[in-house]
C-alpha cells in the first residue's frame, strides 16, 4: 500500500456542513440564558497558559480553534475551512475562513495563527510545549493560508486544535507585553460565539451572544452565565430548582447525580468527555521491593474487583478496563482489547497463586508482607477507593497501611521523591495517546518534579521504541498495530494496574437542547445550544 496520506477536505464540504447547521430546524429558537455551574472558580480565563479544568469550561465559549471534532474524534472544519497534510507528514497547510472577526471587530488572519502557535502555545501552554514541539515555523503566504512546517511528522497534533486545547488569539491584542501575565487574560477577546462581558469574582462570569459570529444564525442563546457556588449541596439544589442548567465533571457528587437523575426536569449526560478519557490506575513503585516483581503487580491487578469499585464508589459511572488506553479510542482503532484480562471472577485465587510463586508465602498470621498505600487526596471517592484497596489487598495476604497527606505533599512523594509503595491516580488520555498515555510509562517521562508522568519509573527500550514509532507514524492502521503491541506488553507487565475508565456525568436541564454535541462536552463552544 502506498503511503499517500494527502488528505484534502474540500472547502465546499465544510461549507455544506455549515449551511446545514445554520438552517434552523423547526423547534430551534433564538434567545434564552444558560446558567452553567463551574467548580471551582477558575484562577484565570487565559486558557492559553492554564489547562486547569474550570478555565477551559469558560474560555472555550470565547475562543475558537482551527478545528472541531465529532464524537469519533474525527476533525471538522472550524476557523480552518480545509487542510492538507503533505505526503511526508512534515507540512500541514490550513486554508483559513475569510470574513471572521474578533470580538473587537478586527479581522482574523493567518498572522493570528502564526502568533498563537509560535509565540504562545509552543512557549507557554503547559501541553502545547510538547504537542507543538515539532513545529518549526508557521508560514503565512497570504492572510487566508497558514502552513505549518514540522521537524518530524506529528499526527497527534491534528487532535489538539480545538478552541479548548489551542485557542486562537488575536495578535493585535496579545502581542504586546508579557503573554504569561497579559492583562487581557481576564478580559478575553476571541472569535467565538460568546463575548466576555463581566467577571464578578466569587459569583459569576457573564458571556453575551456574539452577533457577528461567523457561523450564520448562531449562537442561539443570548447569554451564558457561569456561576461559582462553593457548597456541594447548594449546587445540587440550584440544578434541582432549575436556577442553574448545566454542571459537569465532579461539580455534583455521584450520589447526588443519582438523585437528580430521577427528577423530571433533569437529564444526565455521560457523553462529552471522549477527548479527556480519564483512566484510574493503581501505581506501583516498580524500583522498590516487592513491586519490582512482576508477579506481585499482576497479583494486585487481579485482586481488584472492578465491578464493586464502579458500583459502590463511583456509583455506576465507570467502565472496567485493563489497559492504559481508553475505549473511547475504539473508533480510531488505537484501543486494543487484546490484553491480559485481570477482571475475572477467580481473581483472588489467581492473585494468591501468583504471590505464592513470587516467593511471598503467607506467614503464621496470614500476612505475606506489609506495605503503605498512599490515598489519593482528591476527595471522597478516592478515599473510599484507598480503603477498598486496603481490603482487597488484605484478601490476598498483603497488609496495607493507609497514609493520607495533602495534595502538595502527596505529589512530591509520588512524582519527586518516589518515596512510596503504592498509590492511585487517574490520568487523562486527552485527544491522543501521545499526549495522554506515553507520559505514564515512557522513559522520557521519568522526570523527578514533573507531576502526572511516569511516577512508577517503569520502562523498557522495546516499549519506548514502539511508542516513538507510533508518535510519527502517519498511517492509522500501522499506528494502531504499534499501540496494540504496547498495550499488550504494559498490561502484562503491569507497572500500573488500570482498573476503570471514569465516566463523568453532566447534569443538564431538559429544556436545553444540543448542548453536549462534541467529545469536548463542557469544553466546547455551545454555539448550537438552544432553549425550548
Amino acid at each position: 500500500m502506498r503511503l499517500v496520506r494527502s488528505l484534502v477536505v474540500v472547502a465546499g464540504l465544510g461549507l455544506t456542513a455549515l449551511s446545514l447547521a445554520a438552517v434552523p430546524a423547526l423547534a430551534q429558537k433564538r434567545g434564552g440564558t444558560l446558567v452553567q455551574i463551574t467548580q471551582p472558580e477558575p484562577p484565570t480565563l487565559g486558557s492559553y497558559v492554564s489547562t486547569a479544568n474550570p478555565v477551559g469550561q469558560v474560555a472555550s465559549k470565547i475562543y475558537d480553534g482551527l478545528l472541531e471534532y465529532d464524537f469519533d474524534l474525527k476533525p471538522l472544519p472550524s476557523l480552518a475551512e480545509s487542510w492538507t497534510v503533505a505526503e511526508d507528514g512534515k507540512t500541514v497547510t490550513f486554508k483559513l475562513r475569510s470574513g471572521v472577526k474578533f470580538h473587537d471587530g478586527k479581522p482574523f488572519t493567518s498572522a493570528d495563527v502564526q502568533f498563537t502557535f509560535m509565540e504562545v502555545l509552543k512557549k507557554v501552554h503547559p501541553r502545547g510545549i510538547n504537542t507543538f514541539a515539532e513545529v518549526t515555523a508557521v508560514e503565512t503566504p497570504d492572510p487566508q493560508t497558514a502552513i505549518f512546517r514540522l521537524n518530524r511528522p506529528a499526527p497527534y497534533m491534528m487532535a489538539a486544535l480545538s478552541g479548548y486545547e489551542s485557542p486562537i488569539l488575536p495578535k493585535h491584542v496579545f502581542s504586546q507585553g508579557d503573554i504569561r501575565t497579559h492583562q487581557n487574560a481576564n478580559s478575553p477577546v476571541g472569535t467565538g460565539p460568546f463575548k466576555f462581558v463581566e467577571w464578578r469574582r466569587g459569583e459569576f462570569v457573564r458571556l453575551d451572544r456574539n452577533a457577528d459570529y461567523w457561523k450564520p444564525g448562531l449562537p442561539y442563546l443570548d447569554r451564558i452565565v457561569v456561576r461559582f457556588i462553593g457548597d456541594t449541596g447548594t449546587r445540587a439544589a440550584a440544578l434541582e430548582k432549575g436556577e442553574a442548567h448545566i454542571a459537569g465533571f465532579g461539580a455534583v457528587p455521584y450520589n447526588d447525580v443519582k438523585k437528580l437523575e430521577k427528577l423530571p426536569n433533569i437529564q444526565i449526560v455521560t457523553r462529552g468527555y471522549e477527548m479527556l478519557s480519564p483512566v484510574v490506575e493503581l501505581m506501583f513503585n516498580t524500583k522498590k521491593a516487592p513491586f519490582d516483581n512482576v508477579k506481585v503487580r499482576q497479583a494486585i491487578s487481579y485482586a481488584i474487583d472492578r465491578k464493586f469499585v464502579i458500583d459502590n464508589i463511583w456509583f455506576g459511572f465507570g467502565k472496567p478496563t485493563n489497559g492504559p488506553i481508553s475505549s473511547n479510542f475504539a473508533p480510531t482503532g488505537l484501543y486494543s482489547a487484546d490484553v491480559t484480562n485481570y477482571n475475572v471472577p477467580d481473581g483472588v485465587e489467581r492473585a494468591n497463586k501468583l504471590l505464592d510463586e513470587a516467593g511471598f508465602p503467607r506467614k503464621a498470621d496470614g500476612i505475606r508482607f506489609e506495605i503503605t498505600h498512599d490515598i489519593t487526596p482528591y476527595g471522597e471517592e478516592w478515599r473510599r477507593f484507598g480503603e477498598y484497596t486496603q481490603q482487597a489487598l488484605a484478601r490476598i495476604g498483603i497488609k496495607a497501611n493507609l497514609r493520607y497527606e495533602d495534595v502538595a505533599t502527596w505529589l512530591k512523594r509520588i512524582y519527586t521523591d518516589y518515596d512510596y509503595d503504592m498509590s492511585s491516580n487517574h490520568l487523562f488520555n486527552l485527544a491522543d495517546p501521545v499526549l495522554g498515555v506515553h507520559r505514564a510509562f515512557h522513559s522520557r517521562f521519568i522526570r523527578p518534579g514533573t507531576v502526572f508522568v511516569n511516577g512508577v519509573r517503569w520502562s523498557t527500550p522495546h516499549t519506548d521504541q514502539l511508542m516513538d514509532q507510533a508518535t510519527i507514524e502517519p498511517d492509522a492502521k500501522k499506528r494502531a498495530a504499534l499501540y496494540a503491541e504496547v498495550q499488550k506488553i504494559v498490561v502484562d507487565q503491569a507497572p500500573l494496574a488500570w482498573t476503570h475508565e471514569i465516566s463523568f456525568a453532566t447534569v443538564l436541564d431538559k429544556r436545553y437542547r444540543d448542548v453536549i454535541v462534541s467529545p469536548l462536552g463542557l469544553f466546547s463552544s455551545f454555539d448550537r445550544a438552544w432553549r425550548e
Binding site: N255, N312, I313, R384, Y404
Partner: protein
C-alpha cells in the same frame, strides 16, 4: 477523699446516668474484638443495608458494619482523647505549677507563652498541626494536647499561687524542704480537685476535637473513629440516615455524660457547696 464525697457524688442521679453510659462505652471499647470480631474496615456485606437487617446498625456505602465501626471507633476515640488529655494535664500542670510557685520572671515568661497559645483559635491550630505532621494517631494526640494545655496551666498556676502563701507551706519552707518536694508533696495534692474537674471536661473537648478532625478526613487513617464515620456518611444523609445518626448519637451521649460527671465532680468537691 472522704465518704461524704462519694455520697454526694454518686447520690446525684445525673452523675449516675453519665457513669452508666460511660461504663457502657468503656466496656464496648475494651471488649471490641469480642463483641464485634469483624475488622471495622472490612467489607462484610452489601452496601447500605438498613439497621436490624442482618446487621445491628446496618452497613455503610462500602458494606462495612456500622456496629463494628461504632465499638472499634469507641476505642480510637476514647484512647486518643484520654492520652491527649493526660499529656495536656501533665504539661499544662507542670508549667502552671512552676509559674505559680516561682512567680516573678519565670511566671511572666511562662504565662506569656501560655497566652501565645491561647490566642490562636484552637481548632484551626489543631487542623494546621495535623496537616503539617501528616495525619496519624500520634499527630492527632499531639495536636489535641497542644491546643488543650493552656487552660490547665492557668488553673494550676492560680491554685499554686494561693496555696504558696498558706502557713503550712511557709512552715515547710522554714523547715528547709526543697522546692521540688514542697511543690509535689505539699502543694499539688491540695490543688488536685479543680485539676480533676477541668481534666474530665477536657476529655469531652478532646473527643469533639478528634471527631471533628476525623470528620474532615484528618484523623488517623488506619483507625476507625466516630468522626470518620460521620464524615464518610454525610454525603448519604438523605438516603442512609443511620450512617450519620448512630455515631452522632454516640458522640452526643458520651460528651454529655462526661459533662454530667464532670459537673458532679465539681459539685461534690466544691467546699462551698458542702452541707455542714
Amino acid at each position: 477523699m472522704t465518704s461524704s464525697f462519694w455520697i454526694r457524688f454518686l447520690g446525684n442521679p445525673r452523675v449516675l446516668l453519665g457513669l452508666i453510659w460511660l461504663a457502657l462505652v468503656v466496656i464496648g471499647a475494651l471488649a471490641a474484638p469480642l463483641i464485634a470480631p469483624l475488622d471495622p474496615f472490612a467489607i462484610s456485606g452489601k452496601p447500605f443495608v438498613r439497621p436490624m437487617d442482618g446487621f445491628l446498625f446496618g452497613t455503610d456505602s462500602l458494606g462495612r458494619s456500622v456496629w463494628s465501626g461504632l465499638v472499634h471507633g469507641a476505642r480510637t476515640t476514647l484512647l486518643i482523647a484520654i492520652i491527649a488529655t493526660l499529656a495536656a494535664v501533665a504539661f499544662g500542670g507542670l508549667l502552671g505549677a512552676l509559674s505559680g510557685f516561682y512567680g516573678g520572671r519565670t511566671d511572666n515568661l511562662l504565662m506569656r507563652i501560655t497566652e501565645f497559645f491561647q490566642t490562636i483559635p484552637s481548632f484551626i491550630f489543631a487542623i494546621l498541626l495535623v496537616a503539617v505532621l501528616s495525619p496519624s494517631a500520634t499527630s492527632v494526640v499531639v495536636a489535641i494536647a497542644t491546643v488543650s494545655w493552656p487552660p490547665i496551666a492557668r488553673i494550676v498556676r492560680a491554685e499554686v499561687m494561693s496555696l504558696r502563701s498558706r502557713e503550712f507551706i511557709q512552715a515547710a519552707v522554714t523547715l528547709g524542704e526543697r522546692d521540688f518536694v514542697i511543690l509535689f508533696r505539699q502543694i499539688l495534692p491540695n490543688a488536685l480537685s479543680p485539676l480533676i474537674v477541668t481534666g474530665s471536661l477536657l476529655v469531652a473537648t478532646a473527643i469533639l476535637t478528634e471527631s471533628a478532625l476525623s470528620f474532615l478526613g484528618l484523623g488517623a487513617p488506619n483507625f476507625m473513629s466516630w468522626g470518620f464515620m460521620i464524615g464518610a456518611g454525610r454525603s448519604f444523609l438523605r438516603d442512609a440516615w443511620w450512617l450519620v445518626a448512630i455515631p452522632g448519637i454516640a458522640i452526643l451521649l458520651t460528651v454529655l455524660s462526661i459533662n454530667l460527671v464532670g459537673e458532679g465532680l465539681n459539685d461534690a468537691l466544691n467546699p462551698r457547696l458542702r452541707t455542714p
